[in-house]
């Protein structure tokens, strides 16, 4: 084995793929157990989501486990954004297309759908997601203030509580350079000690200072961390940001549908929950989209569960059972039937 620094991964982002089957199986066992969500697979169909362009070897293994281990009666494998697009079409029946921007944990995807069908050449992935943002926050706080590399959970809470997307980065930077009363960005975050304080919280500077608890001073960290979504090059990742990638993906679609895609941008996924995300995305897309096209961004009430609800709606669709693969079909024709039906 080479020294750790010499080992090289083929490309970034392989952590978002299902690689550790033992762990995943344990998780599935728990999910379908009596403690969590008891389910009878002979009655309930299963919808499972996977990343775009998932590897065939992973897909085959997944089908094998569900049909042979869990004895699943009917099985549907989709991308999460397929379900978001389905939900969106149900909500907006006149939409001719939909561009789903899904900012997840391991990566963010931009996927154009034309009348419910995904346009594969336009699907692109940015290797920035919630995990990278939390790691980045951890890294800069550990360097500037307090060693928190082992405190992923708390740092993730700080990210969710305090970070926001800047509408104008340089204006915010200039403001963050000033001292407190003119600088309304700077704030303290009181860390939990897990005896008196169970969860950390924000403390603005107009409150009287406290000395007994440990706290972090957050200033430009609050907006420079989510900024990585829009400029991955800020951390040395040589990729387009979300705003730029939206126009790039639309430009890879047929010109007749481009105006529909710009007018129906749907934002989902946990990393889109930063305050100001939608406004910033609109600003960037509006700046690069042709002037005659309308740009319209929809953000569901809860972007994290939008796809799940789409799946729930799909399962009540009268045509639902024409999409699934049943156990009999799988036993008759083997894994190829899944590929034909789900990737066609």
């Amino acid at each position: 084995m080479k020294a750790k620094s010499e080992r090289r991964r083929l490309f970034i982002g392989d952590q978002g793929l299902l690689m550790n089957w033992d762990i995943q199986k344990t998780v599935w066992d728990y999910i379908f157990s009596k403690e969590c969500c008891p389910v009878n697979f002979s009655e309930s169909p299963l919808i499972i989501t996977e990343p775009y362009f998932n590897f065939a070897s992973i897909q085959e293994a997944m089908a094998e486990i569900f049909f042979e281990e869990y004895e699943c009666q009917s099985f549907l494998r989709v991308n999460a954004s397929d379900l978001s697009d389905y939900h969106y079409r149900k909500d907006n029946s006149s939409a001719q297309g939909c561009l789903v921007v899904d900012c997840g944990y391991s990566f963010s995807h931009i996927a154009p759908y034309i009348k419910g069908k995904k346009h594969k050449p336009g699907i692109k992935r940015i290797d920035v997601g919630g995990k990278l943002l939390t790691n980045h926050l951890k890294e800069i706080i550990s360097y500037r203030q307090l060693h928190v590399m082992e405190e992923t959970y708390v740092m993730n809470q700080i990210k969710e509580d305090a970070c926001f997307v800047a509408y104008d980065l340089m204006a915010n930077m200039a403001k963050a350079k000033k001292k407190y009363p003119e600088n309304d960005i700077v704030m303290d975050y009181v860390l939990p000690d897990f005896t008196n304080i169970r969860r950390g919280y924000i403390r603005t500077l107009d409150q009287p200072p406290i000395t007994e608890q440990q706290k972090l001073r957050l200033n430009n960290e609050r907006f420079s961390v989510p900024e990585v979504l829009f400029h991955p090059s800020d951390v040395g990742l040589d990729e387009m940001g979300i705003g730029e990638a939206v126009s790039y993906c639309v430009s890879r679609c047929p010109s007749v549908v481009q105006s529909h895609l710009y007018a129906n941008i749907l934002v989902t996924g946990g990393s889109s929950l930063f305050p100001g995300f939608k406004e910033r995305l609109f600003k960037e897309v509006r700046a690069s989209a042709p002037d005659e096209f309308e740009v319209n961004i929809t953000m569901p009430e809860d972007p994290t569960t939008y796809a799940w609800h789409g799946g729930a709606m799909l399962s009540r669709d009268p045509d639902f059972y024409s999409f699934v693969v049943t156990k009999e079909e799988y036993e008759e024709e083997g894994p190829t039937i899944c590929m034909e039906r789900f990737d066609g």
Binding site: S5, L10, F11, G13, Q15, L17, N20, W21, D22, I23, K25, T26, D29, Y30, S33, E35, P51, F53, N54, F55, A56, S57, I58, A61, I110, K120, P121, I123, K124, R125, I126, D127, K131, N135, H136, E139, I140, Y143, R144, E150, T152, Y153, M170, M173, N220, S224, P232, S233, D234, V235, G236, D238, E239, M240, G241, E244, A245, Y248, M339, D343
Partner: protein, 159 residues
């Protein structure tokens, strides 16, 4: 000028700069790549406060169930799956090209590099920066940030 004992007119700053080890471009790139990979690494660790159980009856994530029905199902251990389906990335890519030739793959789906110029931020404080460290090429914004950088990070990571 050498007449006056010990005094020389050479610039202390330039002399200092010449003595400093300057990293070559390849090393700088390798260090930058390592930093990106570290950001992308899995950030799971055991909950440091996991031992502090407030309530013994709180639901736990059980990996052994003792009911008879599930034990029968559980005849194969988790390790069985680990080894059965284990593929390395090159193996998966090769298999992919056999099963779905001529189709876009996971690798192709990555977005291309940005068309906008890279912005520069101080590696110490995060504000916009105008200077680079001569030795390792990291950005900094002020003399005090450079001092912090030289003291803590400059050439101190094992490259």
């Amino acid at each position: 000028m050498s007449g006056r004992g010990g005094y020389s007119r050479e610039s202390g700053r330039l002399k200092d700069a010449n003595q400093r080890r300057v990293l070559d471009e390849a090393t700088r790139q390798r260090r930058a790549r390592q930093a990106v990979e570290a950001l992308d690494s899995d950030n799971f660790h055991d909950d440091p406060h996991g031992d502090l159980v407030a309530n013994k009856n709180a639901p736990k994530f059980q990996d052994t169930l003792d009911t008879r029905e599930t034990r029968k199902r559980r005849s194969k251990s988790a390790d069985y799956y680990k080894f059965k389906y284990r593929r390395t990335l090159p193996q998966m890519i090769e298999y992919e090209s056999l099963v779905r030739p001529e189709q876009p793959t996971f690798v192709d789906a990555q977005v291309p590099p940005s068309n906008f110029p890279k912005r520069n931020f101080c590696a110490v404080c995060g504000f916009p920066s105008g200077y680079r460290c001569i030795t390792c090429g990291v950005r900094y914004c002020s003399v005090s940030c450079l001092a912090t950088h030289a003291e803590t990070r400059c050439l101190k990571w094992t490259a």
